[in-house]
């Protein structure tokens, strides 16, 4: 018990004094996950739109597949990507294994399904009458799509924020693709795993608190966004269960 209490106070000390190593790890974590979130958003929003606005054979199957990938284990993504990026793998020549760039790639791939799926749900949450109304007011197909996406903007933003949450909190890809190299690819989650393993509890607790703080900020942002959403969209996003 005393170990937990003293660890807690030492952790506070590490944060308040802006311990350089703690800060470096937190900054790298934020950088990698934000970059992955931006890349994933750039891919997922048009992809989700493409799937939502087109009728094609196997659309439902594709959506079920995407939803299944919401919960793909991070270590599985890590394993597959490792095989591709390792020196003998098909993408080995790019030398991305054990680099922050490789981690960004891994996290991007990890969160594309959940972001795409939630973008589809967000567009589906827009009243069907809206699209009829736009077309009947003389919108071209493209004008109608732009305005439907704009109508779903808050729900789409929530999808992006949720994607970031999954990226920053994952361990599998960061550990397997990053390699947890001190000062190079060590991020919050991998550092906690390692420091706990070697018994450096204050350091782990400090990083854990930072991670929780980030999660708190994410939740606050999400709440601010979703409070401006319609009830249907909130439910589609797993929102209020009444």
């Amino acid at each position: 018990m005393s170990e937990i209490v003293s660890g807690f106070f030492q952790a506070i000390n590490l944060i308040v004094t802006l311990n350089p190593e703690v800060m470096q790890i937190a900054a790298l974590s934020l950088f990698i996950s934000l970059a992955a979130t931006i890349f994933a958003a750039v891919i997922s929003i048009p992809l989700g739109g493409l799937i939502y606005f087109h009728e094609f054979r196997g659309k439902r199957v594709l959506i079920v597949l995407i939803q299944t990938l919401y919960s793909v284990p991070t270590v599985v993504v890590g394993l597959i990507l490792y095989l591709f990026l390792s020196r003998d793998g098909p993408l080995g020549i790019f030398g991305l294994l054990f680099t922050p760039e490789g981690m960004i790639l891994g996290q991007t791939l990890l969160i594309i399904p959940i972001m795409t799926g939630l973008v589809i749900a967000a567009l589906g949450g827009v009243d069907r009458n809206i699209s009829d109304t736009l077309i009947s007011l003389g919108a071209t197909g493209f004008q109608a799509i732009i305005h439907i996406v704009r109508e779903a903007r808050l729900a789409i933003l929530s999808a992006v924020v949720l994607g970031f949450g999954r990226a920053i909190s994952e361990v599998g890809v960061a550990m397997m693709i990053g390699g947890n190299i001190r000062g190079a690819t060590r991020v919050l989650t991998t550092a906690i795993a390692l420091q706990t393993g070697i018994g450096d509890f204050p350091f782990s607790i400090a990083l854990g608190m930072i991670l929780l703080l980030i999660a708190l900020v994410v939740v606050i942002i999400l709440n601010l966004i979703t409070s401006g959403l319609s009830f249907e969209s909130q439910v589609a996003l797993g929102g209020p269960r009444t």
Binding site: D127, N129, L134, G138
Partner: protein, 361 residues
């Protein structure tokens, strides 16, 4: 203005609209009237070129609308539709009204003045900066009308515009529709399930039942000369009697219904099986020992009152004279005559108030 030929729509194996032929004239108010689920919305959506018909053509002002998507868009931009459940976009009232003009790439300054004009017409100028999603149902419907109006459509399509509104708002919207028609001479096609509303607004009506246009004509035609029993029931004719023509002298016919004989005006020859349609408000009731103006009321039937059901300021009174007859009497006259169930009375119907159709069944 709009010529519809053989237009039908199927969804999967289900037929929503049977092939219909219809012509809408420029500048008229045409009402599509029918019960819920009869295909009114489907027809309006086809006319607005939102959906593709399964068969048939729509010719708009001389142009076949099936030509290409570009043609469909340009024709769609000459129309505007107001949906039964108005959908507003998550922006201001003025922003909502501006959409049609933005899509047409109208200049900003002109958008501003035309949005103002349209909001003024619907009486919502004071709400222009409000978030549209915070409006009441009646206000949203008026925004939808302003949004349709702002593009100065040649044809305005209104799908049950008052179906979800209270009487005060309904009255407001109806007055608005008439005012728009008067001001812009817009061709208006309106659907409703409310017979009386159709009567208040329309020049001509098309009755649609089970996806089939069963009768097109003036209000008078449809109210007094329905072409079949379904329409008759829908327009409020409760009494449909089966009879056979006994004699006919220059259109003055005598028709047997059970033991009773009706005098009516009809060209049908003796021996024809016919159905007599009698509107309830055309039936007068007199006490058995009272006197009726015998000259004009040719048909007088003695019977017993079997049922009296209040109907607003009226009482629906059913009289058994062998077959049954329904009369709509005002509550006041029901009180004055102290009508009650079981009483024997005389029901009077003018010969000209009976509409005769050949009886198919």
């Amino acid at each position: 203005m709009i010529r519809i030929a053989d237009l039908s729509r199927r969804a999967g194996s289900k037929t929503i609209l049977e092939p219909i032929n219809l012509e809408i004239h420029r500048g008229e108010i045409f009402t599509i009237i029918g019960p819920s689920g009869s295909g009114k919305t489907t027809l309006l959506r086809l006319i607005d070129l939102l959906d593709m018909p399964t068969t048939g053509t729509i010719v708009f002002d001389g142009t076949d609308t099936a030509a290409s998507n570009a043609v469909r868009l340009s024709i769609r931009r000459r129309m505007a539709m107001v949906f039964q459940k108005p959908a507003v976009l998550n922006t201001t009232v003025a922003g909502n009204v501006a959409f049609g003009l933005k899509f047409r790439k109208v200049e900003k300054s002109e958008i501003y003045s035309r949005v103002h004009e349209a909001l003024d017409i619907v009486g919502l100028l004071h709400l222009e900066d409000r978030k549209a999603v915070t409006l009441s149902g009646g206000e949203m419907q008026r925004v939808a009308i302003a949004r349709a109006l702002v593009t100065r459509p040649e044809v305005l399509l209104l799908d049950e515009p008052t179906a979800n509104l209270d009487p005060v708002n309904t009255d407001l919207i109806e007055k608005l529709i008439l005012a728009i028609h008067k001001k812009f001479h817009t061709t208006i096609i309106l659907s409703t399930h409310d017979m009386i509303q159709g009567q208040r607004l329309a020049d001509r009506m098309g009755v649609i039942v089970n996806g089939r246009i069963v009768q097109v004509g003036s209000i008078h035609d449809i109210f007094y000369r329905p072409q079949n029993k379904d329409i008759a029931r829908f327009v409020g004719i409760d009494t449909i009697l089966k009879g056979i023509v006994n004699s006919n002298e220059d259109g003055h016919a005598k028709i047997s219904v059970g033991d009773a004989v009706f005098e009516v005006i009809t060209p049908f020859r003796p021996g024809t099986q016919v159905a007599l349609f009698i509107r309830p408000e055309e039936v007068t009731i007199a006490l058995k020992d009272g006197d009726l103006p015998r000259t004009s009321v040719r048909n007088q039937l003695t019977g017993k009152i079997t049922k009296m059901v209040p109907f607003g300021p009226f009482v629906r009174t059913t009289i058994d004279f062998g077959p049954h007859l329904t009369a709509l009497v005002t509550r006041r006259s029901a009180d004055e005559l102290s009508l009650s169930v079981g009483m024997t009375v005389i029901a009077g119907i003018k010969a000209t108030a009976i509409h005769v159709m050949p009886d198919s069944a």
